[in-house]
Symmetry: C2
Subunit: 96 residues, 2 copies
């Protein structure tokens, strides 16, 4: 995913989130909390998300609270949300 | 580590933290931020901490910010810091 991503407009953000159930906008970030069956399942999910993140060089904030994993995505280099955030969220959803 | 752990006293907490470089008290929690060489190294560290945590059934809050991993330990069932927190912190230090 080389190159600069342009910040998405509000309507682009709304359209993208319509296809991402459970993901919510919080300013320049999109967030979702996933609950797994167990703590090992939560750690396993972090690893799976981690492989995706490293592959596209776009790294979510990841907060583990026992078997809950909260993810937050933003494109800091673009100062907002970009297609990189929505694409990674879609790939994470495909795991989940 | 079955059974109830007693909350540690302030002097016990100070003594325990003296042997845990980089760990700091924040009320009923002890925290440390670890910085790894890379994001994959950070995820690997989460997995190693996760195995220890599951083994002793005591689960830190884990916040991943690219290659930094912040850990926070508290014994919620005891309403404070206990030997379980300091023992797990020592085992994490032995990994790190």
């Amino acid at each position: 995913m080389g190159g600069m991503a342009e910040p998405a407009t509000d309507s682009e953000i709304r359209a993208a989130l319509a296809g991402l159930p459970g993901w919510e906008r919080d300013g320049d970030t999109i967030r979702k909390e996933y609950e797994r069956e167990s703590f090992p399942d939560a750690v396993t999910f972090v690893v799976r998300v981690g492989f995706l993140a490293e592959q596209v060089d776009h790294h979510p904030d990841i907060d583990v609270r026992w078997r809950k994993v909260a993810l937050a995505l933003s494109t800091h280099s673009a100062g907002g949300l970009t297609v990189k955030d929505f694409e990674l969220a879609r790939r994470i959803e495909a795991l989940a």
